[in-house]
């Protein structure tokens, strides 16, 4: 067998698989969103947009992503820098920081529920220091702000690790000579970070931001665990339309909205953090 055909044979199974289970379903979901009994229509989008929850779900999702992703970026960068400065215990610290990587969003929601629920650890602690004289409800249907805060905490807690891993791996690819040269020329640690590390980290920043933003737009189980239906988000509404309201066309319309926003953000991030072709390793 010639080695001209071998690579294609090796790629073929995965190409077929991605064709059937990735490209084809996306065409299907687009078709379901835009047709009724075979004729093209925007009716499903109208149904979706005229439902009172759509606006709230859209705002909540975007607001969550806008709050969560920058915090995570800052925190992940801080963790990465701290770890590179450590002389002892580096592996231990990295392991602990990356533990949440293995924890599902549902489990993260349940973990923070243990803290915020009425008889939870937050109230127990507040009671112990005398700040409240009885369990306070944090996640009730009127407590949108605290539900939002709890979701932000749970998301930052759970999903900063994936950014950290990408950034630490990216920092490992930066040649030491650059840093040493900056030191020789008298750059302060802060200057070295902003003028040397950050620009060279651009490809990793790009990957980390795209991945995290898309996952943030898919937020679902954390919100269900902490807020039930009190804090509607896009993915949660998709689930409601598919399952409870049994209208898969409207669910597909929601999917198109999530997809559209995801692609828009990916393009923006690619644009803003543009990596010149010559600089790619």
């Amino acid at each position: 067998m010639g080695s001209t055909r071998l690579p294609y044979l090796l790629l073929l199974p995965s190409v077929l698989f991605l064709g059937v289970f990735f490209l084809y379903p996306f065409l299907l979901v687009a078709w379901e969103a835009f047709n009724r009994d075979g004729t093209p229509t925007l009716a499903h989008f109208q149904t979706m947009a005229s439902h009172w929850k759509f606006g709230t779900a859209l705002t909540n999702t975007l607001l969550l992503a806008a709050v969560v992703v920058p915090i995570q970026l800052g925190l992940a960068l801080a963790m990465a820098v701290l770890v590179t400065r450590m002389t002892r215990g580096r592996d231990m610290a990295l392991y602990v920081f990356t533990i949440p990587l293995g924890i599902s969003d549902l489990a993260a929601g349940i973990i923070w529920l243990a803290i915020f629920e009425q008889t939870g650890f937050l109230n127990s602690m507040l009671q112990a220091v005398g700040a409240v004289d009885g369990p306070r409800i944090w996640l009730g249907y009127q407590d949108k702000a605290t539900i939002f805060l709890a979701v932000v905490l749970a998301e930052v807690w759970r999903a900063t690790a994936i950014m950290l891993v990408i950034l630490v791996a990216g920092m490992g690819l930066i040649p030491k000579e650059y840093k040493e040269a900056a030191e020789v020329f008298g750059a302060s640690p802060w200057q070295r970070f902003t003028r040397v590390t950050l620009p060279l980290l651009r490809p990793s920043l790009q990957t980390a931001l795209i991945l995290r933003t898309i996952l943030a737009l898919e937020v679902f189980a954390v919100v269900s665990a902490l807020g039930g239906t009190n804090l509607p988000v896009l993915m949660g509404e998709t689930y409601v339309w598919q399952f409870d309201l049994q209208d898969r066309h409207v669910a597909a319309a929601y999917a198109m909205v999530i997809l559209g926003i995801s692609i828009a953000f990916t393009l923006i991030i690619l644009r803003v953090l543009h990596v010149p072709k010559e600089a790619r390793t």
């Binding site: 379903p25 924890i103 599902s104 650890f121």
Partner: protein, 273 residues
């Protein structure tokens, strides 16, 4: 510069203090979940709560004895195992091809793999739910595993690509000159070297499937996985059930991440390129 050592020491102490603080930020919430799952249901519902577990297995026993839980656990394991096999079986050959060959279409293939990252993949479950009903795959272990494989496959391809790239081509060539066929060289020289890494990426695929909530909830009704079971009973199940469920969900993931920790950084380093 006589103050240099003192200055350095303060900086190091500050670094350590911050690392410990951030470590606590990660570990304390998990600890609190453990406290809840190792307390009796009465204690879980009581107030104020103790910050130490009473090592009562009441909550866990209640959870494991709850109707449908053992079945859901088994389903989760089966789906994750099948996902693991499928994504490595499909992904490893592709990773090998990407690392060893230059061929027309290589960059388009890489684009296809990278593109999967820009899409909210769990949404695939929506059209597939309909498709599966037509093909009889609805509410089945295999059907869900196929969807989870589309989540895990891009990672498997990129990770195995980086693993194979880490092994010098010369090793393989040496085996060929000594009379091995391509397949023999692969089996005797390359495979033993990449096996630990392949295991790590298989575990990673397992965890991706084990943790997945949305597609599992959309695609299963009778054959619910643990995540789907927990999600669908969130608003009706009592607190001890939720916390014990969360604990059972977290535990294997913790062990697995510990097992693959050495590979986490290596695989992302190259996946960026």
């Amino acid at each position: 510069m006589t103050s240099e050592p003192a200055h350095r020491r303060r900086a190091r102490q500050l670094t350590m203090a911050l690392v410990i603080l951030l470590g606590a930020w990660v570990l304390v919430p998990i600890y609190l979940l453990v406290v809840n799952s190792l307390s009796s249901p009465a204690e879980v519902n009581g107030f104020p709560k103790s910050f130490f577990p009473s090592f009562d297995t009441g909550s866990l026993g209640f959870f494991l004895g709850f109707a449908g839980v053992t079945r859901a656990l088994l389903n989760s394991v089966l789906v994750a195992a099948l996902t693991m096999v499928l994504s490595i079986g499909l992904g490893a050959p592709a990773g090998y091809a990407l690392s060893r060959f230059e061929f027309p279409g290589k960059s388009s293939y890489r684009l296809l793999v990278l593109m999967t990252r820009a899409f909210p993949l769990p949404l695939l479950a929506l059209p597939l739910a309909v498709l599966f009903i037509r093909t009889g795959l609805d509410d089945s272990i295999l059907g869900l595993a196929l969807v989870h494989t589309s989540l895990a496959l891009p990672f498997a391809i990129l990770i195995t690509y980086s693993l194979f790239s880490g092994i010098p081509l010369e090793l393989e060539e040496a085996a060929w000159t000594l009379g091995c066929t391509r397949l023999q060289a692969f089996r005797k020289v390359i495979l033993p070297l990449v096996l630990p890494g392949i295991t790590a990426s298989a575990i990673f695929a397992f965890v991706i499937s084990w943790n997945e909530v949305f597609a599992a909830s959309v695609l299963t009704i009778q054959n619910r996985t643990l995540t789907a079971f927990l999600l669908q009973s969130l608003d009706v199940s009592p607190m001890p059930l939720k916390f014990a469920g969360g604990f059972v969900l977290v535990l294997p993931a913790l062990i697995f991440i510990f097992a693959v920790r050495r590979y986490l950084f290596a695989m992302w380093g190259i996946a960026n390129r």
